[in-house]
Symmetry: D2
Subunit: 119 residues, 4 copies
């Protein structure tokens, strides 16, 4: 989270939203580079969402994650919304949507689907 | 590449290897955080591999990418090897393996499979 | 569709639902076998949903598709709901949910995410 | 296996090959329909490969699987080769390649990557 300057913007059972500014550094990157940043934010939101569904001091790890990039990450900030599709003791199936926002627009730029495992 | 302190270690038609040190910052991260870093390196290697198969000044973008995390990213450096499975004018199917290396060991920590599109 | 004895149950712009009975043949299969059948139904619903967003006599092909299996396919019939997440001339990003239904219950058994290409 | 008229053509620890004829029924299908059949064969090969790495009478289930379709399934028979990338007690990461063969050619038509869980 710290490396993206990210903050928590929503927290419910099975749902977490995090936001991070789109810095000049990020916005100047081209092509495939965007995928890594968008992935990291979506994957983090999905992981935190999974954490809300498990008890005790457990951590979760990403077992596998798939991302479809829909649009370029243009805007003021990115918001990633992670949700749990299917909780479980061994496998937690998660989804995340990532949006690029300006003060008056919000466009989905990515969709992620994957599996977290309690650790 | 710059943000990971990464360097090119192999370059052939349809194959690119890049390496990045596992910094203290990275090695201290837990859980889902690793996925983002490993993804970014594997995705970059796959994107560069795709670039070697297209002509002119085109760039490539990640359309979609899937990662399976196999082991924790423990070691001195990460090496990502990207290769083109199927070149194409519209879609380039790629794969990447990511390894964690020490001076005398090399373990695969991730496998990626996805699609690049010329841009 | 014919090979699953499937029927169309919903049709809107960007959304298609198809249903197929869970035959004895299917319900007697174990383990990994279920994945193929559930995949085929979800992939078909997603493909038909993509078709509703393109003009003319074009066909669509699955470029890539990912499925997470959530629960066993137990019930009277399977219903697959495909939707278009992002239309496009070159790439259409789609999603599908597959449910197992009895006369009084409906449980999601799979989630798919992938890319269709007009052909 | 029976539903594809499939036969075992290779069996080693962590590696299984299965083959199935490309029937008229299959070859006459268009578009997205191919994905289901190719997926089922690749997923089965990957599942059997996973089975070779676990002890006792356990079964395996597909937790998630991703397929990239590379070329149309044209030829006399399909051969799917599944292999274990990372064995494990809880998660088995697998890969499969599917080829379309004639008497004198062999072309890769799909690549799959996914996770099996012992059951």
């Amino acid at each position: 989270m710290a490396s993206f300057d990210a903050e928590l913007v929503a927290l419910e059972l099975g749902f977490v939203g995090i936001a991070a500014p789109i810095s000049e550094t990020v916005s100047q990157q081209h092509g495939a580079a965007h995928a890594g940043l968008t992935f990291a934010l979506g994957d983090s939101a999905a992981g935190y969402a999974a954490l809300t569904t498990i008890e005790g001091e457990a951590d979760v790890m990403t077992a596998e994650m798939k991302i479809n990039l829909l649009r370029p990450a243009i805007g003021d900030r990115l918001v990633a919304e992670g949700r749990v599709i299917k909780p479980g003791r061994r496998l937690i199936v998660v989804q995340a949507e990532v949006f690029a926002e300006t003060h008056d627009s919000r466009k989905q730029i990515a969709l992620l689907q994957g599996t977290m495992v309690p650790n």
